[in-house]
């Protein structure tokens, strides 16, 4: 019984607790307690993991627990973590923790809200710890579905439309994933013997190139939909714009990472040859996405749209890095996921708080907020600087690792893609500073805003927690990047083994 199961048990217990609650306040506090426990567990996990590694335990995955579930189908409840998933778990715990505080002001059906929020979180945790494709997929869908209710009930704007669109597109993605997973299962025992969903076992065997070529697009696109792969990203702007604060946070911060993680952990890891052969198609798409998202953000007026498009840009950068197939770039991809996760969560939290005070999200209706809400404004500036990749914040570490890694591919094609992608940092700077300039600086346009109050205590908690995360990674990235790049050992072996087969 590995203590990883806590990551599923704690949320479920929290949900039970919430359902037993009498009034709104209790609900909130139960949620807070549960998620704080979750955060603590995550931190403990990171520390224990690092200790294990330092103690020289170089097993591919640690804290393994393997219970047989469906014997004849050979489906197991098989969980374990490597450096990458540990990092992602840490991210999730942090963002969920902040999200609870950010959604403190929910008045309509708070019980249902927090239940679905934590259900979503448990799905994400389960996804990251599971090493069996079946449970992985189960948790994946479990994480996606509550989105519909969260956006549909507590959202704003054209929330029904956005919720439906988001859910259907993501489910379309998961349909492709399911096809790919069944395909993997069917091909999982070329030498006879029982078929298996076990990710580690499948990674050990060699799947025939033909079936790889058939399955790779399904898996990559399937996860890519959630990873905002151009042109399947179009759910993201509407979804984010309509979602309530905490949901945008979790969604952009954590859920979109499921896509990138899946692309890396399932598509590329299990189908390396196909990845090598077909990677270039998706690399082009990802590169387009990076630039496209940035320019898209440049034109928007609505804060959430701006951030949604910048998320598209950053997440495409993740896919871009994954498709570079070398250790540095992959490490960068994972760091970028974490960094963007925290950063964009911070953004959405702040946007939510600002919206809650000014009741508009159109930047040119606001202005000079620095005067009236210094705390939020400064936090927003920090988030902005982090997002345009300023040293000292996580974004810089991630982007530089990605670019240096990507540049190690000697051929012109990858070089050009890298340079194009790198040029996005300028555009990012432009739109971030544009927003900061219009929104926070200058004079207060609307006299009504003179009376706005600054952040409340719960706002401050969530903001500070996230800023701490950004700066921690930004100032001392070494432990993180080492942890991650250790975790990337196996996939690198497969990719390197795959390369000569093709050349």
């Amino acid at each position: 019984m590995s203590f990883l199961t806590l990551f599923i048990i704690i949320p479920l217990l929290t949900i039970v607790g919430i359902l037993l609650c009498k009034n709104h306040l209790q609900v909130k506090w139960v949620a807070v307690v549960g998620m704080s426990l979750q955060l603590i567990t995550a931190i403990v996990l990171i520390l224990v993991f690092l200790a294990e590694r330092r103690a020289g335990n170089m097993a591919e995955v640690l804290f393994v627990q393997d219970n047989i579930w469906y014997e004849t189908l050979n489906i197991h409840f098989y969980i374990g973590v490597d450096g990458v998933s540990v990092a992602m778990i840490g991210l999730t715990a942090l963002v969920v923790f902040a999200g609870i505080f950010a959604s403190w002001d929910i008045v309509d059906l708070p019980r249902e809200f927090f239940t679905s929020l934590i259900l979503l979180a448990s799905g994400v945790f389960g996804f990251f710890i599971s090493l069996d494709l079946f449970t992985m997929f189960l948790f994946y869908e479990l994480a996606v579905i509550p989105m519909y209710l969260l956006i549909g009930i507590w959202g704003s704007g054209p929330r029904h439309y956005s919720a439906m669109k988001l859910t259907l597109m993501l489910m379309g993605g998961s349909a492709l994933i399911l096809l790919g997973m069944v395909g993997l299962y069917v091909n999982s025992a070329p030498g006879g013997g029982p078929l298996t969903f076990n990710l580690i076992q499948i990674s050990k065997i060699h799947i025939s190139i033909e079936s790889q070529r058939f399955l790779f697009p399904f898996l990559f696109v399937g996860f890519g939909v959630l990873g905002a792969l151009f042109p399947f990203h179009t759910w993201s702007p509407d979804g984010h714009a309509s979602a309530p604060t905490a949901v945008s946070m979790l969604h952009a911060g954590v859920l979109m990472k499921l896509g990138g993680y899946g692309c890396y952990r399932v598509a590329v890891f299990l189908l390396p040859e196909a990845a090598h052969q077909m990677g270039w198609i998706f690399l082009i798409l990802a590169t387009i996405g990076v630039i496209y998202g940035a320019f898209g953000a440049l034109w928007q007026k609505d804060l959430k749209y701006i951030n949604a498009y910048s998320s598209v840009s950053h997440c495409s950068l993740v896919l871009f890095a994954i498709l570079m197939f070398n250790q540095t770039a992959l490490t960068g991809a994972i760091i970028q996921m974490i960094s963007h996760g925290i950063m964009t969560a911070l953004f959405f939290a702040l946007i939510g708080m600002i919206y809650g005070r000014t009741h508009t999200r159109y930047i040119n209706e606001m202005g000079g907020l620095m005067k009236v809400m210094p705390f939020l404004a400064v936090a927003y500036v920090i988030a902005g600087l982090a997002s345009l990749g300023l040293p000292g914040f996580s974004g810089f570490v991630a982007e530089m690792t990605i670019f240096v890694g990507a540049f190690q591919n000697a051929d012109v094609f990858h070089r050009v893609c890298t340079i194009i992608a790198a040029s996005s940092i300028v555009v990012t700077a432009v739109y971030i500073l544009r927003v900061i300039g219009i929104l926070l600086l200058g004079k207060i346009r609307n006299p009504a805003y003179e009376l706005i109050t600054d952040a409340k205590w719960h706002d401050k908690i969530s903001v500070v927690a996230l800023i701490f995360g950004i700066t921690l990674i930004g100032l001392a990235p070494l432990w993180l990047s080492d942890m991650i790049s250790q975790g990337l050992g196996p996939i690198m072996q497969k990719l390197l083994a795959a390369a000569p087969i093709l050349n």
């Binding site: 259907l168 042109p231 530089m400 790198a422």
Partner: protein, 640 residues
């Protein structure tokens, strides 16, 4: 071997000040935070002076008589590949130590000055915490042990400049200027980044000592022709120079510098005159051996430098905002430094240009900071930036007047003030390279003298302006820095610079080139005389000349319309013809496709509803025909 690890403190003190003032600054009284920041910087200053002393005089030289180049502090920060890793540390060699002195001195002075200058401003402690942040980043930049650490602090410098320019964040002009400064330099930094990527890929290292060492991989690898007939290494060096040009406001990336004057004057003095803007020069100097190995790149540096120098000098003659005049003169002076680097060779007397450039950088820091602080004092007392609204201030502001005059003489290159010596070296080096560029530089120094004294006369003499409340001399905290820097401007020229800072760290004797010096001084004097005629007394000569030059002077007055060009490119092209179409495409094509799919599905489901007509017999018909249809297919399929 002395342990220099205490140099780390030079970085950590301002960082500490930044954090403390930034987080808890608003708990203190404003004055307290100002004094705290200044004391911090004072300690830092003293430390760097000690460092310089120990480095140049106590530390024994290397076996070949060169100043040692070594890592005082170094620690792993991030591992990228097995070869490439980013370290944080302190690299000590002549130029970094020289820069330490420059930066700490100027920023200490600027801080001291600000205590008086910023009195009563809103966000006093914010200002001081930003100043500390800037000092931290700038120092980190100069002591960088590897090119990536340099890049990191490069960005930090950029952002602290952004924060300080936009200090008056309620002034739209300030906000716009800060944004412009950041974005333009950011664009340049993209070039820097690409250059770093290429360089690091070619050489497999970031480390300066390896890169610039005698057997650097940069000399051998990447020499093959890559693009436009230039080798990869050349291109990477050109890209890196792009970054330097951005920070140092070289043409055509200079447009942010004049606007940056929207910031508080001490900031302009510290960042946009003395320290940050010379980062580009420092970068080229830092990588000088590689530049020497790629002559084309070095020529680019030379021509860009020369052109920017004269370009800025011309504009400076036509501006009325005193800070803008100073800004353009800064640009012009930095152009000279770049030019000096560009013409320089490596080693011994070949490296005269290098030495001259560093020497000029050193001197320039003092007198330009002095000029800006003086201008600050003037603005502080008359509350205007425009020289045509001033005049006859000499009796109101005696100290400012004297120090300002000294600075003007120094920058004009009048012996025995500092500017004379370094400019002389530059011109001497230029003469060895090519006569044409030498002449250009002569014109520049003439123009320099002209516009500086135009400034001087129209501020302190010229017409007798009536001020609503009589201007008064600045407080002590402001005049002391002025005096100190004036002394600096008087004396620094006498330092035998070639004994300390040379391209190969090997001291050599550079003696005054008398045949270069005399014409230089003469042309400077000519410039001064003309300025005197024009502006000593109020008269209409300037207008005459201005009109006589017609279109040219008009263009110069409008800074040759570079800003307008940029505005056109960004606002018109990028926003309207790239960003907007993309946004449209996303909404209507990509999104439209998704909605279209759902629409089509709905439509189909609506069309086929008549199969469910509710007619029993129609159901039966479908039923039977379905059966027969299957029968047909499969019997057919089966039989063949």
């Amino acid at each position: 071997m002395i342990d220099f690890s205490f140099t780390a403190l030079i970085l950590l003190i301002p960082l500490f000040m930044f954090v403390v003032l930034g987080l808890f600054g608003n708990r203190f009284k404003p004055l307290v935070s100002g004094i705290a920041g200044t004391t911090g910087l004072f300690v830092m200053w003293v430390l760097s002076l000690i460092t310089a002393y120990m480095y140049f005089f106590v530390l024994e030289k290397a076996v070949d008589g060169t100043f040692q180049k070594f890592l005082a502090v170094n620690m792993r920060w991030l591992t990228l590949t097995d070869k490439l890793h980013i370290d944080m540390g302190v690299l000590l060699d002549p130029i970094s130590v020289m820069m330490l002195i420059v930066i700490t001195t100027v920023s200490f002075m600027a801080n001291l000055y600000s205590i008086g200058y910023m009195k009563g401003e809103k966000g006093y402690m914010r200002f001081f915490s930003f100043l500390s942040l800037f000092s931290f980043s700038m120092l980190g930049l100069v002591v960088a042990t590897n090119i990536f650490q340099m890049y990191i602090f490069w960005e930090l410098v950029g952002v602290s400049s952004y924060l300080l320019i936009g200090f008056y964040y309620t002034k739209d002009a300030a906000v716009a200027a800060s944004k412009k400064a950041f974005i333009v330099t950011r664009f340049a930094d993209l070039g820097f980044l690409i250059g770093i990527l290429m360089l690091s890929y070619l050489t497999g290292t970031f480390d300066f000592i390896t890169l610039t060492g005698p057997d650097s991989p940069a000399f051998t690898s990447g020499q093959g022709v890559w693009f436009l007939g230039l080798s990869t290494m050349t291109w990477s060096m050109i890209f890196i120079f792009m970054g330097g040009a951005g920070k140092s406001a070289m043409f055509p990336l200079h447009i942010w510098l004049p606007d940056a004057m929207e910031g508080p004057t001490p900031v302009s003095a510290l960042i946009h005159a003395a320290t940050m803007v010379v980062a580009g020069v420092y970068l080229v100097a830092r990588l000088f051996p590689i530049y020497v190995s790629t002559p084309v790149a070095l020529d680019v540096v030379m021509y860009v430098g020369a052109f920017s120098s004269i370009f800025a000098a011309i504009i400076a003659c036509t501006q009325y905002d005193i800070k803008r005049v100073l800004a353009y003169s800064t640009m012009s002076q930095i152009g000279m430094m770049m030019f000096a680097l560009g013409i320089s060779g490596y080693g011994g007397h070949e490296g005269l240009g290098y030495m001259a450039s560093m020497f000029h950088l050193f001197n320039h820091a003092f007198f330009k900071a002095l000029l800006f602080l003086g201008a600050g004092a003037i603005i502080h007392s008359v509350h205007t930036n425009y020289m045509n609204e001033m005049g006859g201030l000499w009796k109101h502001l005696p100290i400012t007047h004297i120090t300002f005059l000294i600075a003007c003489l120094a920058i004009a290159g009048i012996p025995p003030l500092s500017g004379f010596f370094s400019k002389d070296e530059i011109l001497a080096a230029g003469l060895e390279k090519s006569t044409f560029l030498y002449l250009v530089m002569m014109i520049v120094s003439g123009l320099t003298a002209f516009y500086m004294f135009r400034l001087y006369f129209s501020i302190f003499w010229g017409k007798q302006t009536q001020y609503e409340h009589t201007p008064h001399e600045a407080p002590k905290t402001m005049t002391i820095p002025l005096l100190f820097l004036a002394v600096g401007a008087l004396l620094t020229g006498l330092i035998p610079f070639s004994n300390f800072v040379t391209s190969d760290r090997l001291p050599f004797v550079a003696h005054l080139e008398i045949w270069v010096a005399i014409p230089a001084v003469l042309i400077a004097l000519v410039g001064m005389v003309i300025a005197t005629l024009f502006y000593r007394k109020e008269n209409n000569l300037p207008e005459k000349v201005f009109l006589a030059l017609g279109g040219f002077s008009k263009a110069a007055y409008h800074k040759f319309y570079i800003d307008e060009l940029y505005l056109f490119i960004t606002k018109k092209i990028i926003f309207n013809y790239i960003s907007r179409p993309i946004a449209w495409f996303d909404r209507h094509i990509v999104d439209g496709t998704m909605n279209g799919i759902s629409f089509v599905t709905n439509e189909i489901s609506f069309r086929i509803r008549k199969f469910q007509s509710g007619q029993l017999q129609q159901y039966a018909l479908v039923f039977v025909s379905g059966a027969l249809f299957l029968a047909l297919i499969f019997i057919y399929l089966w039989t063949n």
